[in-house]
Symmetry: D2
Subunit: 145 residues, 4 copies
């Protein structure tokens, strides 16, 4: 495993919308996972210099499906809140990697932490309907610096 | 145009979930469109006797994409409400058709009406990346009785 | 009815996210209504110079609930698309008003048009559990100038 | 901590809808968290014999907000799949508790596991705007048998 030191951190501003909130007036927590998915996509686009459809094609993979994800909720957010999500890869393994997200409120308070384990996935050579983890290329790892 | 008389009406019970509601405690209206999309899928599955992936393959089409949809909101619904959606095709044209939905609360009150115009769509023979309306087979129309 | 000439138009850039798309790889259309809801909120925030919770409190109303909405779909959008939504109020009546949205792709093509009728709504004086349309103040109408 | 032996397990059938799936044709994983939230609500309704708004009022609490949740994805699900979610409380502590979900496909395969830690939450006596964990009543714990 390659523990990543201070590498690339993407910072993504977000406005909490009315439709993201539930009847308690705070973000319906599944929406945080949708935010985080978009943040991981943005981090990869920034690191690899192209959109997901392009880098997936360039590397002969189908994408980076999720195998395990978790979120811890410290402080609720409500609609109109302007927040920032800080996203980074925290570990690369042979064919999988970990991503963490820190969602910060405008006052700097940590509202939500997200954790993801994803797979660098290609089609199975014997059965294109199945997918499997493939070795993450060194230049991909290097791009996260 | 073939105006449909009392034809097939699908009745689908739904429970309004916490996560479907907004900060005012009532259903966030885009969710009604998601309900209605599922109701149209269920109506076609009931009429054609198989799931969408099967009837689309059987008829050589890719599906029934939406071109125009509308909803009118009379009475709000809140989480825990047990409602019923009545769905029917109200008109068939050569390659398009109309669907209406009536979402009724437990007391029988009409809460939301939905209207859809969809296309019976196949791939363009000259360019598989494009889709176009194709003639709806008479046996499909007949199945809605 | 006051037909609005060239008044205030809000332009809001949006990135289509993976999670907004369906199994056909294009935006799941209920998500457009969620986009449009956020665009109307942003237009009012821009026109009235404060967030919805603030202007609602300042005017003694509870918000601008939807009574009727429609969308027409011309060209599909897919994930990674950078689009712009142009939003404006097209008519004010005594206690209701119309909003239109034009979602444009990067090549300028009109992909989706949205139409909304909303109510300027306050609590019923005899029963706070009920809401009703109240007269839209002239200074609110003027702010969309 | 009270480890729960074979206690109450709620089994909830679900149809995977088109709109729950992403451009890869499989469930967009944030939707699993929305499913699970509805399953926890259904388990509590079944155990306590009334809807959440009723049992929350009866016990003087505001609900059971999430503090930590996780999901592990083994096998993808696609639209049209008929699945079942088995939900149970696996541990009660003074003012918090754990819930697990097992989402099973029709062939019995375990597709997704979900884990939740929630709080039995009331309003802070000194500041109604804040919430805090309160002691879970023994009769509530007993209801999960």
């Amino acid at each position: 495993m390659i523990r990543k030191p201070p590498g690339l951190i993407a910072r993504r501003p977000l406005t909490i919308e009315w439709g993201d909130c539930d009847a308690a007036g705070i973000v319906f927590y599944p929406r945080y996972f949708a935010y985080f998915d978009a943040c991981t996509a943005a981090l990869f686009q920034q690191a690899l210099g192209m959109k997901q459809s392009a880098w997936a094609a360039a590397h002969g993979v189908i994408g980076i499906p999720m195998v395990d994800t978790r979120a811890k909720f410290s402080t609720p957010c409500t609609f109109g809140d302007e927040v920032v999500v800080e996203t980074q890869v925290t570990a690369f393994r042979r064919s999988s990697f970990d991503v963490t997200h820190r969602l910060l409120r405008q006052d700097g308070a940590l509202a939500v932490e997200g954790f993801e384990t994803r797979v660098w996935a290609g089609r199975h050579p014997d059965d294109p309907a199945r997918i499997r983890g493939v070795t993450i290329p060194p230049e991909v790892i290097a791009a996260f610096g």
